[in-house]
């Protein structure tokens, strides 16, 4: 058996495998993304004190601790029949903006951006942050580090530790802000707004002014015509922290708008025998296999899903950029998977502008930050994690212990779409058995755009083991395997 090893998917850790099957001409017959699943979170949660859930769920995976933390805190608000005071909601949302700032910067500059800034065909050893620094310069590198750290610091000021937030409680938060902290956050936020604007300009200069990149973005292998989903405010503008869940169709019109309480009437999960991942779909449309179009219930979440599922951004600069993106790419919805990167930067700008609104709000230093809880019951909560819609649902017993817990995480919501994107990209870029590092990178790009986080999608081991790609010939004989590390975990 001939096994070729290609240095791989260093920016795509997680615990997954892409299997690519070639036909007798060497073209792609099919490609699957397989993710081993760790089960048992729901069981692990049972019997625990409900108020511990924001801490416990923030440890499911190191990527979105803040998203889990607040999806959980909101679920507890609901389960204990309490509304947090308005100041507490604002403090939570401000912290949430800090999380979006560092998370989106990290993805664009470290993980997704190298494909564009350094180039999709550049050697793997250069398609990383070091290559970005090489190309863009040390000064820009320093700005990237600085602003990512600002996002972390804003989160840490509000939440205790950035990676282990401890502030979210049923009915509010445990810690307010003092005037010095407000000043500090305001200063960092101002700098972050400028950096977000700079990032969009960089995207404009490097990506949009490069005809080859625009061609790549709009090329067939990267298009997916699914439904889109995201949380919106009462004006149908994107909201990360709170609102109704809106689904738009292939024409960009509203298909559904629902409260998270109704999620199990709207979303069902399909199981495939070759994957541990569940594939959510819209119940009213139904499961029609891994296909797109109006008859298939598969939807997309995450930056592009959110922008497609909304009617704009709630802040002025981001809204202008929102309009520009849809004008440039032919109107809403945009179906190009690679436009996720653009959408992510528009969201970065929104997060910085929204953070400024919140930190300047006179209520932000209020000390009325928690309301007393009521009797325990059932609760539902939704937030937009950086990578998409995140739903928590708990049933509490009379003593306030967890009786049942169910989570639908962002990458699970995207499972069908990611699988199709990988398949379509493989079909589009591999032909006549010719596979090299640059070609496989273009398959990975389809995957990377979603910024998937398989750690919690499969409730699995966070990180370490890189994605592996296996290529098989028509006799199902393994031709190539991509794997690099001898050390895993």
């Amino acid at each position: 058996m001939k096994i070729v090893t290609i240095d791989p998917i260093t920016r795509l850790e997680g615990h997954g495998k892409i299997s690519i099957f070639l036909d007798n001409k060497g073209d792609v017959e099919n490609a699957y993304l397989q993710i081993p699943e760790l089960r048992g979170f729901e069981r692990f949660a049972e019997g625990r004190r409900a108020e511990d859930m924001p801490q416990i769920t923030s440890r499911i995976c190191g990527v979105c601790p803040v998203a889990h933390h607040f999806a959980s805190a909101k679920t507890l608000d609901d389960a204990f029949n309490v509304q947090p005071p308005s100041a507490a909601k604002k403090l939570r949302e401000l912290m949430y903006m800090g999380y979006f700032i560092y998370d989106h910067i990290l993805h664009f500059y470290y993980l997704g951006g190298p494909d564009f800034i350094v180039g999709p065909d550049a050697p793997a050893s250069q398609r990383n942050i070091l290559g970005v620094i090489e190309k863009a310069g040390v000064e820009i590198g320093k700005e990237v580090i600085k602003h990512r750290a600002y996002g972390q610091k804003i989160t840490a000021i509000l939440g205790g530790k950035a990676t282990h937030p401890v502030c979210g409680l049923p009915g509010g938060v445990s810690k307010g802000l003092n005037k010095d902290e407000v000043k500090d956050i305001e200063k960092m936020t101002k700098s972050c707004i400028d950096f977000a604007k700079f990032s969009l300009k960089l995207f404009d200069d490097i990506v949009l002014k490069n005809k080859d990149y625009v061609k790549l973005i709009t090329s067939d292998p990267y298009q997916l015509n699914t439904y889109n989903m995201g949380v919106v405010d009462e004006k149908n503008k994107v909201n990360f922290y709170d609102g109704k869940i809106r689904v738009t169709n292939q024409k960009g019109d509203e298909h559904l708008k629902f409260d998270v309480k109704d999620y199990y009437n709207i979303i069902a999960e399909h199981v495939e025998e070759w994957s541990y991942m569940k594939f959510p779909y819209l119940k009213d449309i139904g499961w029609k296999g891994l296909s797109d179009g109006k008859d298939s219930g598969i939807y997309r979440v995450g930056p592009l899903g959110r922008l497609n599922a909304s009617e704009g951004m709630a802040t002025s600069l981001a809204d202008k950029e929102y309009k520009k993106m849809f004008e440039t790419l032919g109107g809403r919805p945009v179906n190009s998977t690679l436009a996720f990167h653009w959408a992510r930067l528009i969201e970065l700008l929104y997060a910085t502008e929204r953070a400024m609104e919140l930190v300047k709000d006179s209520e932000i230093t209020s000390q009325k930050i928690r309301n007393p809880v009521g009797e325990p019951g059932e609760g539902f909560g939704v937030t937009e994690a950086a990578r998409g819609t995140l739903i928590h649902h708990y049933k509490l017993d009379k003593d306030g212990l967890i009786d049942k817990a169910n989570l639908i995480v962002a990458t699970t919501n995207n499972a069908g779409a990611i699988t199709m994107s990988v398949r379509d990209a493989a079909k589009g870029v591999i032909s006549k058995g010719k596979i090299d590092d640059g070609i496989l990178n273009k398959v990975e790009m389809a995957f990377r755009a979603y910024d998937p986080c398989f750690a919690c999608a499969t409730h699995t081991l966070p990180g370490g083991m890189p994605l592996q790609a296996d290529v098989y010939n028509q006799n199902k004989k393994l031709l190539k395997t991509i794997k690099q590390n001898t050390v895993e975990v």
Binding site: L12, E13, G14, P36, L38, R39, G40, F41, R43, F44, I56, R59, I60, C61, G62, V63, D103, L106, H107, Y110, L111, N128, I129, L130, I133, V138, G141, K142, I145, R148, A149, Q152, A162, T163, H164, D451, C453, F454, A455, H459, T460, L461, P462, G463, G464, M465, P466, Q484, N485, T486, V487, E488, V489
Partner: protein
């Protein structure tokens, strides 16, 4: 005197994956030294870098999976000996990458010595829980001793 940071790395609710944190907790009971800071981390390369910056040396304790080594075996490695250090964060850089990047940007406060005490897992944990398997639990004292010996070098 060298300023040392000891970091237990892992996911505290993912059974054997959290072994580094168990070792760090034990070390906290046994080491009382103003030049030694002991902490735990469930995070990726960029945040790990922030945590070790400013120290003369760093000792990281983590679960590893190395082919040809037995489950529960404890080994010490230098940074660079392994192709990947655990990043608890699938959306992040590995620690060696983060360090290389920081050096490229002119960072001078990176520890001169970075070592990893790796506890080898035969099987990757596949469900949630706070307890270690017996085999990995037995490895904790070995890892503790190895770290303590390393710390003693401060005084040689």
């Amino acid at each position: 005197m060298k300023k040392t940071i000891i970091l237990g790395i892992g996911n505290p609710i993912l059974r054997d994956d959290g072994v580094g944190i168990h070792v760090a907790d034990e070390l906290k009971k046994q080491i009382d030294d103003p030049n030694v800071k002991i902490d735990s981390a469930f995070t990726g390369g960029m945040n790990l870098l922030d945590m070790i910056i400013g120290h003369d040396r760093a000792i990281l304790i983590d679960a590893v999976k190395i082919r040809d080594k037995k489950s529960g075996e404890v080994n010490m490695f230098k940074l660079g000996e392994l192709s990947a250090f655990h990043t608890a964060n699938p959306h992040d850089l590995s620690l060696p990458q983060a360090i290389e990047m920081a050096k490229r940007l002119g960072e001078t406060r990176i520890p001169d010595e970075i070592k990893l005490v790796g506890i080898n897992l035969g099987e990757l944990p596949c469900d949630f829980g706070e307890n270690l398997s017996p085999e990995i639990k037995n490895a904790v004292p070995k890892a503790v001793e190895l770290v303590k010996e390393e710390v003693k070098k401060n005084y040689e």
